[in-house]
Each structure stands twice: as C-alpha cells, then as structure tokens.
Symmetry: C4
Subunit: 243 residues, 4 copies
Amino acid sequence: QAVEAGGGTMKKRRCMYEVHVQPCLVEMFGTSLFVFVGCAAVIGNVEAPGAIQPAVAHGLILGVLVMLFGQISGGHFNPAVSLSIYLCGGMELLLLLPYILAQMAGAMIGATITKVMYPSGMYVASLGGAFNATTADVGKSTLAEVMMTLVLTIVVCMGTVNRKSRTPWAPFCIGLTVTACVLAGGSVSGACMNPARAFGPAVAANQWNNHWVYWVGPTCGALLTVSFIRLLFGDQRTRVVLK
Amino acid sequence: QAVEAGGGTMKKRRCMYEVHVQPCLVEMFGTSLFVFVGCAAVIGNVEAPGAIQPAVAHGLILGVLVMLFGQISGGHFNPAVSLSIYLCGGMELLLLLPYILAQMAGAMIGATITKVMYPSGMYVASLGGAFNATTADVGKSTLAEVMMTLVLTIVVCMGTVNRKSRTPWAPFCIGLTVTACVLAGGSVSGACMNPARAFGPAVAANQWNNHWVYWVGPTCGALLTVSFIRLLFGDQRTRVVLK
Amino acid sequence: QAVEAGGGTMKKRRCMYEVHVQPCLVEMFGTSLFVFVGCAAVIGNVEAPGAIQPAVAHGLILGVLVMLFGQISGGHFNPAVSLSIYLCGGMELLLLLPYILAQMAGAMIGATITKVMYPSGMYVASLGGAFNATTADVGKSTLAEVMMTLVLTIVVCMGTVNRKSRTPWAPFCIGLTVTACVLAGGSVSGACMNPARAFGPAVAANQWNNHWVYWVGPTCGALLTVSFIRLLFGDQRTRVVLK
Amino acid sequence: QAVEAGGGTMKKRRCMYEVHVQPCLVEMFGTSLFVFVGCAAVIGNVEAPGAIQPAVAHGLILGVLVMLFGQISGGHFNPAVSLSIYLCGGMELLLLLPYILAQMAGAMIGATITKVMYPSGMYVASLGGAFNATTADVGKSTLAEVMMTLVLTIVVCMGTVNRKSRTPWAPFCIGLTVTACVLAGGSVSGACMNPARAFGPAVAANQWNNHWVYWVGPTCGALLTVSFIRLLFGDQRTRVVLK
C-alpha cells in the first residue's frame, strides 16, 4: 500500500499505473466478469424453477472477485457501492467518476459476450439477463431496489470502511448478501442493486423499459446507507454527530 | 471495547451513546433488515418447490448481520438468543429488556416494508411470511421449535460465550445453522426459532393463529441450552458444577 | 489443553471430567443433534425434488458442530471417522470404544426425537430418514459407501491429523464434503458414510434391510483412507514408509 | 517447506519422494476424487431440474481438495490450471508434464469407479458425466469454455500466485468460482473448464463427440488469463511491462 517515492521517470510511471490506472482497469475487468457470469446464469436458468441459480451465481462470483481484486481497486464493480463508499470516507473523489465509467464499460463488455455465447432463442427468452420492471408496479420495484441496495451497501460500508466492524471476511459477506437479496426481492424487481449490472445487458439486448428504476433505486439506497452510518451506526471516526 | 473514562460532558454523552444507545439501535436496525429479507424470501418463494430458498436467505443474511454488527451489539436479533446469552453469562441484565423491545420494534418495521413492497396477491397467499402452526399438530410444532431453537442457541452460546469453544467464525456458524434448521423443521412448524421474527409479520399481516407457539417454543429451547451448557458442556468458567 | 496437575480430590475430579467424561458426553450430544437435523431434513424433503435439501442440511450442521465441539472431543460424531483418526494417530485407543458407543446412543436419541416431532404419515413415507439399500444393487451400494467414506475420511484425516495439511477450516471442509458426497452418491446408497447415522433411525423406524451395508462400507472406506495416508500422502511424521 | 539438506541416501530418498513423487501422486489421487464426485453428481442428477446439484458438488469438492492438498502439490487437478500457474511463474517446468499426465490418469480412475458404482441405466442416460458439445453450436461451446476457464484461472492465479492479491481463502474462492461458472455456462457447453475432467469420463463412457472443444477452450482461456495477469493485473513482480 505504501508506495515508495523514488526517483526517475520509470518509477513515477509505475506509481501512476498502480495507483490510478490499474484500479480503473480492474474495475472494468471485474465488472465485465461479474456481469458475464450473472447474465449467463439468468439466461441459462430459463427452465429451472425459482431464483436459487441466479442468486447463488451472482453472490459467489461477486464474493470471489471482491476477495481477489479488493487489494487493488477495492472491488466495487457497482456505481452504488462506489458512491456509498466515497460518502462514508472510504475512497478519494478523484477516482469516483473513472470507477463508474469503467464499471459501465465493463458491464457492456460482459453482456455482449453472453449475447455471442448463448443461442439466440435462450437469449431472447430471458431478455439477455436485462431487468425489466413492469410499469404497473414500478413504485414497488423502486422500493425493492432501494431496500435491497440499502442492505447491500450497509454490508459493504460496515464491513470495509467502518473501523469498528470491518473484517477480512467482508468479501464473502458482500457476496452472500447479494445471494440473500436476490432470493428476497428477485420476484419484485429482479433484485439488481447495481446500475452497471442493469446497464450492460440493457445495451446488449436493447431493453430500456423503466431502466431508470435501476439507477434511482440503488442511488437512493446508497444515500440511505450513508445517512444511517454517518448519523447512527458508525464508530467515533465515521460518525458525524454524537462524537 | 475498553472505553477511556475521560472528563467533560461531551465524552460522557459519547460513552452513553456507544455503550447503551447504539447497541439497542443496532439490534432494532439489524432485526428489521433480517425480518425484511426473511419475510421477503418466504413471500417470493410461493412458486418454487421446497424450503431451500427461504432457508438459504434467512441463514445468509443472519450470518452476515451477526458478523458486521456483532462488535457493536453482539448481533442477537432474537429474544431467545438474548435470553440464552444472558443466562450463560455473555451480557448484562440491564440490556436484556431493551434488546428484546428493540428486536420486536425492528421486526415490525421489517415486516411492514415487505407488506408495502410486495403485490398484495403474493403477500396474502404467503400470509406475509408469518408463521401459522396448524392446531391439529400444535404439540409437534412446539416440540419442533424447542428442538431447533436448542440447536441454534447451543451454536450461539458455544460459539460466542464459552471460552473453550468460541471462534471468530461463530457468525457464519450461526447463519448456517439457521439454514440447516429451516431445511430440517420447516415443514413441521416453519422453523422460526425467533419470537421477534414471528411477531413482526404477525402484526403486519394480522395472523395470530397459535402465535404463542413461537414464544413458548424458543424460550424453552433457550432454557434447555442454558441447562446443557451450565451443567455439562461449558468450560470451567461457564460450568456451575463439577468444577 | 494443558491441564495443571494440582492437589486435592476436587481438582482430580475435574480433570477426569474434562478429559474423559465431557468428550464422550459431547460425542453423544453432538451426534444426537446431527442425526436429529439430518433425519428431519430427509423426512421433510419428501415433496421437494433432488437431494439438495438433505445434502445441504447434513453438511452445514455437521460443519458447525465439528467447529464448535472440536476443541472438546474432536467432533467425530461418526464411528468410521473415529476409527480412521485413531489409526492415523490422532486419538488414544482408550477413547475409541466409548466414543463409538456414545455416538450410537446419541443417534438413537436424535432419531427418536424426529419420530415424535413429525406427523406419522411423513415419517413412514420417508422411512424415518433410515437407509434402505435395495437388495438388487447391494454391491453397488456397498461400493458407494466405501468410496464416499473414503473421500470424507481423507478430508478428516488430512485436515485435522496430518501436520503438513491440517487447517483451522477443516470443520467447514468436512461439512462441505458431506454435502458434495450426498449430491454425488445419494441416489445409489443414500450416501450415509456413518454407521451411527444409519443405526439411529434404523432403531427408531425399525428398518433393517441390508443394514450391514452401512457398517461394512464406511469401515472399509476408513481403512482405505488409513492405508493411503500412512503409506503415501502423510507427512514424515504420519507416513510409515519412505521416511 | 524448507527441506533440510542432510546427509545419507535415506534422507535424499525422502526429499526425492516428498518433492517430486508425492506431488504427482497427490495430483492423480485428488483428480480421481474430484472426477469421481463430479461425474457421480451429474449421473445422479438426472431427475432433478437445473444445474444446481452438479454445480454445488463440483465446487465444494474442488474447494475442499485444493484446501487440503494445496500444501503438497498446489492442488491443481486441472491441466489448464497447471498451464496458467506455470506461465504466471507459480511452478517449475519440470513438474508440468508429470502433473498433466497424473491428472489424466486420475480422471480415468475416478470416471471408471462411477461407471462401476452406478446402475447402467442411469450411467448411459447421463453419458457417464461426459461432455458432449452439440455440433450445431460448437463455436458457442468453445467460446463458453474459453470464457469460463478465463474466469477460473484468473481466480486461481490472482488468488495463489500474484503476491498482492493472494489469500489463504483461495481454495474456497476456486471452488465457489466453479459453482458459479457451472450455473452460468452449464447449459451451453456443460462448463467443463478442465481437460482432465472431460477426458476421464470420455474414456470410461467412450464418448468423443467434439472432445477437442474441452482441450482447446480451456487452453485458450488459460493463455488469455496469463496475458491479462502478465500485462495488466499482476503486481510489480508478476507483471512484465510497465514495471
């Protein structure tokens, strides 16, 4: 973590690369793998009952990727997660926008690969793993996204940013929370909790019905999390009141 | 854990907050998230066969919440767990009643959110995730609750209170035990093991059939656990006989 | 672990209790909980497809119990496991027979509780969770038990006895291996791998068809494991040849 | 790990054995257990819907075996994994070919045992757990194998070779990645990701339709992984450019 400030252009270039470029590349690459596995699990799940297969696939691959790439980029792979971590004091502002753009680009790559890989019949039948909130229940879908993103980002911020509660098992906690939330809310809104995960297959499959739900819901959930942690549940360093 | 006793009113207020208020808030908040995810997984599971989806959802979210909030409040989220931990010597009496009230309040909040979030057809069909022991087998249901709460609280007390057997992986052990117990006893009594988990959706869905089963069963299970640990399985410090 | 040799009868009685009596009680208690949860998951699984529910329930509860009681008794809960651990040098001969008897007694207790707890219709339909190898394929069933017990006891002995490979995560490894083996061989022989697990419900439900398969198979599997570890895969301390 | 260079032929023979022979035996033995459990889970899964049973069985047994045998041989059990680890600098060239041959031999042993163990009706109906890419979609199947092996070997190399990201939980990460990938791609190509896993049952069941897919796909995936890590995601020691 501590980068030795040495002499020479060579050394500086490496610093630049490892501190600013590699994390963004890792966010793009990791998000593409996450969206690839996630969408593929939804598309391949057409004939199986219930949400257990997509729930387990999303949760496990996310937990593993956060575990492996967390040392390099923090392992967000989710704009709502990046936002909540930034607002809780866990990353610098400079990286926020590059991370979000990298996540969106990675999601498009991952979703495109699933489109090429799956037979088009299965791809079309499952909307390519895209989310598609029905207009009748768009309010309920938005509430579901708010609530489940609240759960996910509480786990992320308490497990990785807040000093009193952070733990080396946070990556598994994050993955398993995704599994639990997909089982809990998958039948209402699809349980996306991640604007990039929604954006990628929406581009690849050209499905934009109520797409805004998957940006507004997770953003509100992330802001709720930040309020709870900054006002009530953070330790002395993270909390801004009652210090 | 060690709170430095400094001067000034400011410092004391913080102590008060972190030692007495924050743990109760965390119990309320954590229980509301647990009941939200748990009830939602039951409601959303209507069309899928077996108990695997609710079992996995309850277990994973509980394990994660205990891992994250355990440093602050102990992460009980369950009156039967609080009772058994208190009687095994793992918490002070002063917090027992506030914890139980906070858990009941949190459970009502979580259950109410699922009611708003799910379409009312699915909500009614699944009784809102409430437990509903049939009167014919009410004795068997009570026995099931006793036995499964015994298993759960044995894991909690051996994993977090008893010095010889406690382990940093106790949170995952607790969550996975809930998953196993729901698979084991879900078809008899619903495998509640938690009066607060029963109380929240009972209020939200107004379902009170044999509700007492989910208070009497878990309480007896917790008392059995305390007997086993205090008399037989505790270490020299926890055991009260044969020292 | 180090028991201070002090004076007085009081002290000696405690030593006796913690060194010889408590481990046997723990084996009985743990086996009764394991068999209770395992049989209940089989009985409650009648309407669900596949073996995933019993597989997950057996694996998780075993992993958790080994994690918690391992410090006290080693957490065997299985005569085949006790045999293989003894022959690999991980326990003293004096405890072997008491452990096996305690495991058989515990299994009867656990199985009897499931009989009382479940409605008799479900209990009879599932043979009370007892194993029932068909006579036509009794050879294949025995082979399945040999092979799957080989896998299980290899994991137990490499993970807890052999110094080069032992790991604090052995309890979870053991539990997850049971889950994998039930998924692998459940449709041939039921994937028992444990004479006590077979014995308990056989007594409670009075089902003795080819019961010997579940004693002969696991015993042969345990002996095969010991051969592999003592001759080929152990470290210098455990291996008896090529030192 | 450090082998003391002592005198005498006896000592040298042990070195030889523990350094060169035992790892190869472990690769053969571990691969035979992995292929045994994996094929058995596929054969026994005929009546259950979806891919969850084979996905969970493959992932759990692989994670456990890597955890236990990783200290001895590295725990590859997969020629594509051995290739990627060698090219990332995690093993010596001398062992590469022996490892691959041992893995192929082990896979044949494991697959043969499943053939003996299962009733021939079930064995034939499931092709003995062999992979069988349909010729119509052979390109899509190859792409699926490339992509999923890329995910698996990224996890292996980042988790065990790359110093900045390696972690003691890598074995579980590897196993869980296999589970996620089978859920993601099982319905396209079967999600083999392992030439040895394909080779064993192909020999036992004599199924060679498009068998090359399961050698070409994983090999290309491994080479892609090596490119990504050596050029972009490795730490200063592993990366060959931008140092």
